[in-house]
Every structure is written in C-alpha cells, then in structure tokens.
Amino acid sequence: MSSQFDFENPVDVAWCPGCGNFSIREAIKKAFDELGLDREKLVMVSGIGQAAKGPHYINVSFFDGLHGRSIPAATAIKASNPELTVIAESGDGCSYGEGGNHFLNAIRRNTDITNIVHNNMVYGLTKGQASPTSRRGFKTPVQVAGVYLEPFNPVAVAVALNASFVARAFSGDVEETKEIIKKAITHKGYALVDVFQPCVSFNKINTYKWYKDQTYYLDDAYDPRDRIGAFGKAVEDDKFPLGVIYLNNDNPTFEENLAVYKRNREPLFRRTVDFDKLERFIRDKRA
C-alpha cells in the first residue's frame, strides 16, 4: 500500500535485512495514514542509533540531534507549537541509557508527545554491547561473563511515575503495533510505546521466536486504569504483556500549564514583539 509518507525515490537504508526496524517503520507509517495526519503538521525527533535513523526513512520533517536527547528537543518543539503532532523515536540505549533522566522528566512533565522506543535489548549500531534492557546473563564482546545488572524496566518505571499512557508492542505484529501507536498518538499527554524487536545481527538470544514465545496480548477484560493492576502487569517477566498497560487522563499536559498559552493559543512563531507594550512593561517595572 502506498503512503504519503513514502519517498518518491528509494532511499538507501542502513538497517540489516530482517531488522525489526523495518516493521516498526511500517507500523508507524500505517498509523500516520490511518489517522489521516497532516504531513505538514507532523515532526519526528530522534537521537542516535539505528532506531534513531527511523525518521530519515519516512517522508516527514525531523529533528535528529544527540544521543539520548530526543525528548528535550521533542518537548521544545511541542511547547513552541502545540498544533504539531510530535513523535520521539529512538532505541532502548538512547532512550533509557543516556536519555534516562529525560525519560523520567518527560513522564513528569506530561508533554503531549508520543515516545516510540525500539527495544532490542542490545546496542546494535555499535555492534552488540549490553543495553539498559539487556537480560541477565546476556554475553557480549564487552560483557564477556554475561550481564549481571538488573535490566531496566521502562514500563514499571512509567507506571511508578503515574505516566499518562504506557504500552508495549512487538515489531513482529505490524497490525497490533500500528493500533497501539494510533492509540498513543491520539492520547493527550505523554505516551510511551516500548516496542520489542529482534536485532538479527547482534542479539542471538532475544530472537523473533523468543519474543513470540515470551509475550502475550492483554485481553479486553484488562482495565488499564487500575494502577496497582498495571504495576503487576509491568513487573511480569516470565511472559511480557503486550498492549496498553496503563492509562491516566487526570494530569494536564505541559503545554496546558505554560503561561504563554493561557490567553493566546497561537504558536510562538506567529507572534511578533510589541515594542510599545515592552517599553510600557519596562517603565512599569521601574516605577
């Protein structure tokens, strides 16, 4: 199916054949198309890594900056123009390692952005070192005796911080992943979508089959508004639940809290400096 987010000419993609990134890109583009998003009002933001190249391969505006720092840029873009749909997309190393503090504060700020994290439990761009989500015992050329750190659990952390939307998907299921991404984008407030994906070159443990065997979808009876129940789901690791794990619509968004939009909804670039008003303001302060 063709998409308005395809390029006219084929682009040179740096990913390995069989990489989970391809199906995540497919799910994202389908979600954009089915939501009928206006391409001119859409911005993708990424950090550094193979996942962070995602926006290069989708025909949209993007801001690709520093390792771990997709969230600050995404927050600033949304805050300077709340009319934009802003998607931050990066990998588990970028988002939970270097970007760990930004991740925590993005949840607390509750900026209305969608944060898609490709989670393959390995640093793929740099050829296979342990990432924050690598499982215990995972051997790499650096972690020669196997990983002995507790794996970072982004879903549990997000629920602990009372995040507004927390979901987990699996790249092997494009349709289901697309539906979860659509819910995340339409959700008002910060939305985390942690997407399990195999790294076919540098993670021979957490393979396509491993994810298939180690996950299951939450059924319709599951209530994502129950925080205690959600935390229970978040810490399950014999089999990982997929779907929307936690929902909390109680908190206002970061943009709604900004004084600059209290009386005027115009994005900042449409505003000009009123010099007379500024001079009056300075005079009043001096009086």
Binding site: K41, H56, D64, G65, L66, R69, F269, V273, I282
Partner: protein, 298 residues
C-alpha cells in the same frame, strides 16, 4: 535562550556543537564564576573566555559578546538574538558574577527598533533546510509553516538534511557554515576607545571591567593614556589590530590568571601586549588598584 554558569555550560556543551551542525539560532548567557569545578561559586572571575570560544567538538561559527555596563547588557542581549536569528549561529553573552550581582540606577532605556527578529520563512514543497547559498545563510523554515519538509540532522547532511558521507558535500557544507562568518563582517562591533585619540599607553580590557577602568582613567586625567574596551570578543573587529598597534605600551587588565583576551588578541589580531594586570582571587578590581596601575605608568 539559556542562562547558565560555567558548570552548567560545561554540561550543555554538546548542544552548542549541535546548534553548530543544525545551524540553530541559540543565545547563551554565561555568567562566569571562578573555577575549576565548583571553585568559588559566589565570587567572580573572567575565566571562561577561552572555554566559550572553543567549547564544543568540531569547527563551527559562533559569536561572543561581553557587556561592560547594564546599558550594554540590555543592548547586546537584544543584538545577540538578532545575530543568532539572522546568521543561524550560537551567540554567547559573557558576563560574570560581579556584573550580574551589581546594582545601579539607569536613565530610561529606549528599545532599539529595526532589529527585526523574525527570520522564519514559509516553506514551499521543494524546501531544502541546508540549500547552499553564497552568504552561507539558508532561509530558515520550520515544521508547520508552509508545505515543505524540514529536516535538521546532526550528522553531516545534504542540502535536504539527509545523512551523507560524500566528501564533496562535506566540504561544501563546512564552507557554507564558515561563509556565515564572512557574511557577518558588517555586523561586528568595534572595540570602544576611551580617552585621548593619541596615546602612548593603552589600557585594554573586556566585559565587566569597563566601569572601574573608565573611572580610574578619568580620576588620573593623564593625556598620554587611553583605554580600549571590547564588547565583541569574537569575531574580532578588523580595526582592533590597528588601534592596539598605535600604542607604545599596552597594558592588559583582566579578572583572570592567564590573560585570555590577550591570547585572543594575539591569535586573531596579531597584537601583543607589554604588561598584564591580572586578578584572580575571586574579587573584582577595586578602583584604587587600577588608579595605582595608571599612576605607575612611565
């Protein structure tokens, strides 16, 4: 805009380099305090000039201002935004703890008009964020304004903002970024000479030492001594070399241990100084100290 001090600036330096690559306008107010590390966090120093000048990996243009008075602080802050927006470069406003913790009364300040701030353009469908131009400046589009796709990338990029390792494109993008330094030649502020137009001795300083040196000079009333004050440190005004060269004896006055403006003048104006008055105990210069310097000039 970000306002910070040495330790905070050190943490954010990778974003300065990013602004260089993205060609993002950004204004950084860096209020210097004595380092290294936490140093004397409630005291003053002009110790971060070289840090501001060379901070960030890679080579990219930047502008550094250092106001000497509150009036200059007000005007240079306005100018910093104008220069950052117009040339799409990071601009650093260097002050120090002494400057920002001082108080005095000002006459009314009229805001300078005509420095239009809005350099953002509405994009067409074929917009290229890094289109090559003679001036090095590409009209700046943003997402959500026009039909164009705006791609900002920290990797070396094509005109459209896509990743590349093409050596020719790399060279042309480096040249494009540096072309902006040539384009801003007409916007560089010259150093300001206080005192007689003809001088044997020339006192030289920058930033917050303006008022103390000016007052000491007036107090001493010597007709053979002038004072040259820099508010734009980088890029340096081309007249700097000549003004400094006309003096027989040059005395640098800096609130640091290593005469950092002296190094900048040597590097970019080929100027040398005969003597240096340096203070780095955490306190600003006292009037009496500068008067003493001027009185002892031969």
């Amino acid at each position: 805009m970000v306002t910070t001090s040495g330790g905070g600036f050190a943490l954010m330096v990778e974003a300065l380099s990013l602004a260089g690559a993205h060609e993002s306008p950004v204004v950084i107010h860096l209020a210097q305090r004595p380092g290294p590390a936490t140093g004397l966090p409630t005291r003053t120093e002009q110790g971060d000039l070289m840090f501001a000048l060379f901070a960030g990996h890679g080579e990219f243009p930047r502008v550094i201002f250092a106001p000497g008075s509150f009036e200059e602080g007000f005007r240079l802050a306005q100018r910093a935004f104008y220069v950052a927006d117009r040339y799409q470069v990071p601009v650093i406003l260097l002050t120090d703890q002494y400057f920002i913790n001082s108080n005095y009364n000002l006459p009314g300040i009229e805001i300078e008009r005509g420095m239009e701030r809005n350099h953002i353009v509405k994009t067409d469908a074929d917009y290229l964020r890094y289109r090559l131009t003679d001036s090095g400046i590409t009209p700046r589009g943003i997402p959500g304004y026009g039909r164009g796709i705006v791609c900002a990338l920290s990797d070396e990029h094509t005109e459209g903002g896509f990743i590349t390792e093409d050596f020719g494109v790399r060279t042309s993008m480096v040249d494009k970024r540096w072309a902006k330094m040539r384009s801003m030649q007409g916007d560089i502020l010259p150093p300001v000479l206080h005192g007689p137009k003809k001088y044997r001795h020339l006192l030289i300083s920058w930033g917050s030492t303006l008022n103390v040196v000016r007052e000491a000079l007036a107090e001493c009333g010597r007709d053979d001594t002038s004072f040259l004050h820099f508010t734009q440190i980088y890029p340096l005004h081309p007249d700097a070399a000549d003004i400094i060269g006309r003096a027989g004896n040059r005395v640098l006055i800096e609130n640091n241990a290593t005469a950092q403006l002296g190094a900048v003048l040597k590097l970019y104006a080929g100027a040398r100084v005969e003597s240096k008055v340096l203070k780095y105990n955490g306190m600003p210069f006292m009037l009496e100290e500068i008067i003493d310097v001027i009185k002892k000039l031969p």
